[in-house]
């Protein structure tokens, strides 16, 4: 099977290096463009004024926090089913980045919440489920670090990651299923975005930049793990 060619850490190592390098360069370029649009090109919001500009960081970070968890759980499940060491490494390499983006989403959201809602934090469904996501990431990292035998550590952490997947749709649909203080999605799969075109462009570019950044840093982390393991 050709599929398993790159499942071997030895063959994956140089490929990961090349991909990481290109993604890092592209991420830096897109971040510069995205932030420029966000700060200088995008118009002021009619209701919120300048405070809304946090969405150029907040929304892409929140998207990434959920998406990285799905990818992490995918790799974890693959590692559990196929017993491939590299899959478990990929899952482990994604966890810190996912946790970082979750934290950024919560933190920027909190800073935005004070001037717009009038409070830093409320226990509504969206905010609470996103906080649980942060704890799931922490739990995954801690559990993997706590078990001495790497095979057993990977298996235990993988189970936790898979169980936690249930939380992701809850975060995403919380604003539709229940009354929350957090507003609904401005950009979704099912209907046209409810925001001005330049604002949307800035946000999408930042999201792409975060994608590439995540790929770059997690591949660098995987390379470190391969080195340590070899």
């Amino acid at each position: 099977m050709k599929w398993f060619w790159y499942a071997s850490p030895q063959t994956f190592f140089p490929l990961a290096g090349t991909i990481a390098r290109w993604c890092a360069v592209a991420a830096a370029a897109l971040t510069a463009i995205g932030l420029y649009i966000g700060f200088f090109v995008a118009p002021t919001d009619a209701q919120q004024g300048e405070v809304y500009r946090i969405i150029f960081i907040h929304v892409p970070a929140a998207w990434m926090s959920m998406f990285i968890y799905l990818v992490m759980a995918f790799w974890a499940a693959l590692g559990l089913a196929l017993n491939t060491r590299l899959s478990a490494m990929m899952a482990a390499a994604l966890a810190p980045t996912g946790a970082l983006f979750t934290f950024i989403a919560l933190w920027t959201g909190s800073l935005w919440g004070k001037p717009t809602w009038g409070t830093y934090w409320v226990w509504d469904a969206r905010l609470t489920s996103e906080l649980i996501l942060l704890f799931l990431y922490f739990g995954f990292i801690a559990l993997r670090a706590a078990i001495e035998d790497p095979r057993r550590a990977d298996r235990a952490a993988a189970l936790l990651a898979i169980v936690g997947v249930v939380n992701v749709p809850i975060i995403y649909y919380s604003v539709q299923w229940w009354n929350t203080l957090h507003q609904g999605a401005s950009v979704s799969f099912s209907r046209a975005p409810t925001m001005a075109a330049t604002m949307l462009a800035g946000m999408i570019i930042m999201a792409l930049a975060f994608w590439l950044y995540s790929i770059a840093v997690s591949l660098v982390r995987v390379r470190c793990m391969i080195r340590e393991g070899a």
């Binding site: 118009p43 002021t44 919001d45 009619a46 209701q47 919120q48 809304y52 969405i55 499940a77 559990l80 089913a81 196929l82 017993n83 001037p115 717009t116 809602w117 009038g118 409070t119 409320v122 226990w123 509504d124 469904a125 898979i162 169980v163 997947v165 249930v166 809850i170 299923w177 229940w178 009354n179 929350t180 203080l181 507003q183 609904g184 999605a185 401005s186 409810t194 925001m195 001005a196 604002m199």
Partner: protein, 152 residues
């Protein structure tokens, strides 16, 4: 079936079972997951009696009255309304015709005594010029409607 297919199937079944459990738990706790009650829900006695809860809706246009530090306004979900009284500072985005969430208790007189008022922002982001254009368009549409009814 190879062992790896078995493990894959086990994971699939496990996730499906978890999803069902989560769905059941969330439906059971539905009431507690709701961050606020709408005026219609309060009117239907769905809100908790005699303890703190939150109401949410739109601030009715023209209903905001300030008397010193006391603010009175009406929260509406376009079907039912609740008068609210609040003492204290309001968030910047508190506006007539915009979303609001207030925490407090419902008095025997039907007036909601708010202890905390939060602004609920909507998902629309647009520059001031666009917002102006939208309100202008709405005004002309209303004008046209008024003229049509007059002609009839």
């Amino acid at each position: 079936m190879k062992p790896r297919h078995k493990r894959l199937a086990a994971i699939g079944v496990g996730v499906a079972a978890l999803a069902i459990v989560a769905a059941l738990v969330l439906t059971a706790f539905e009431k507690n997951l709701v961050f606020f009650f709408t005026p219609s829900q309060v009117a239907a006695n769905e809100a908790p009696q005699g303890r703190l809860f939150r109401i949410g809706g739109m601030v009715e246009k023209g209903s905001v009255k300030r008397e010193g530090v006391e603010v009175r306004f009406v929260v509406t979900d376009t079907a039912k309304t609740i008068p609210v009284v609040y003492r204290g500072a309001l968030p910047d985005l508190f506006r007539e015709g915009k979303g609001v969430v207030a925490q407090g208790t419902l008095g025997p007189d039907g007036v909601f005594q708010a202890r905390e008022v939060l602004a609920k922002h909507d998902e629309n982001y647009m520059p001031p010029e666009a917002a102006h254009a939208v309100t202008e368009a709405q005004k002309t549409r209303q004008l046209q409607k008024a003229q049509e009814t007059l002609v009839k």
